[in-house]
Subunit: 180 residues, 2 copies
Amino acid sequence: MHDGNEVSVLRLGHRPGRDNRMTTHVGLTARALGANRVVIAGDASNSKTTIEEVTDRFGGPFTVELTDSPRAMLRRFDGTVVHLTMYGLPIQNVEDDVRAAHTEAPLLVVVGAEKVPFDVYERADYNVGVTNQPHSEVAGLAVFLDRLFEGAELDREWTEATHRVVPKETGKLVEPAEES
Amino acid sequence: MHDGNEVSVLRLGHRPGRDNRMTTHVGLTARALGANRVVIAGDASNSKTTIEEVTDRFGGPFTVELTDSPRAMLRRFDGTVVHLTMYGLPIQNVEDDVRAAHTEAPLLVVVGAEKVPFDVYERADYNVGVTNQPHSEVAGLAVFLDRLFEGAELDREWTEATHRVVPKETGKLVEPAEES
């Protein structure tokens, strides 16, 4: 996770307005489950602001970037590209290979909104299906990251938080964070 | 999963229009990752239709219900209630207990949209956090189900599908389904 090679998430196909909440959830899920950054293709300044506000409050490190040229990013990415798609190979069959690749080089995890261009399938080193059923790019990303990190992401430490949630059996408790 | 006690997902706080896509993704995730049914509180007929169309095409069994009285459902539920919330106990600490409870009785997994009423926290047998970070009810549900079923949901068989996706290293292949 944060002590290994970087994991970036690339969100393709964002449509301003219509996709704001889904894109925000992609970014927040990437952050919460151990990725280092999310890159959003298109005009997603609302989502960027929301994700950064959460990072300011509950900690990082985590970065949010916008790009107008996701294809160039994909072409130039120096590492392993994983594209999450219901048409891909079952995650349970390829996760060991992906995990091994991640020990060698940075990982770029691509999630689409609606239709993903065919050249993304071709560029990807792994097209991976979290089931071959239609469901949600947010769900697929979550299961993928939890399996990539084998649960270690759940125990990570956060830095530069102003607040932290204290787990409770019942109810809600949010405290000012103390930096150690 | 489908050979054990039933797992239902209850979606609270659906706001028509604004939450349509998130609620649809909650339902599709519940279906894809091994739950038996989703119950949506409120007027979510659009989401219901979409989820049922996916079930008609790619198989079941999976059912979608709408309810106007989620509190009565929670009160009367005969089994274990799990409420997914960033304020709850870490999933990695309670998942063994929840899995054991599921071998004894049906499970109801509650996911909210915005603010969840306090009586849900009190009614829940387990308030569970998939991290104590804000992210997405869809992501939380996905990781929860994958851990509950320990990955067995990824290998399930679907019945009465008209189509099925054939996993491919590159590209997309959807075939007419043959019932065995």
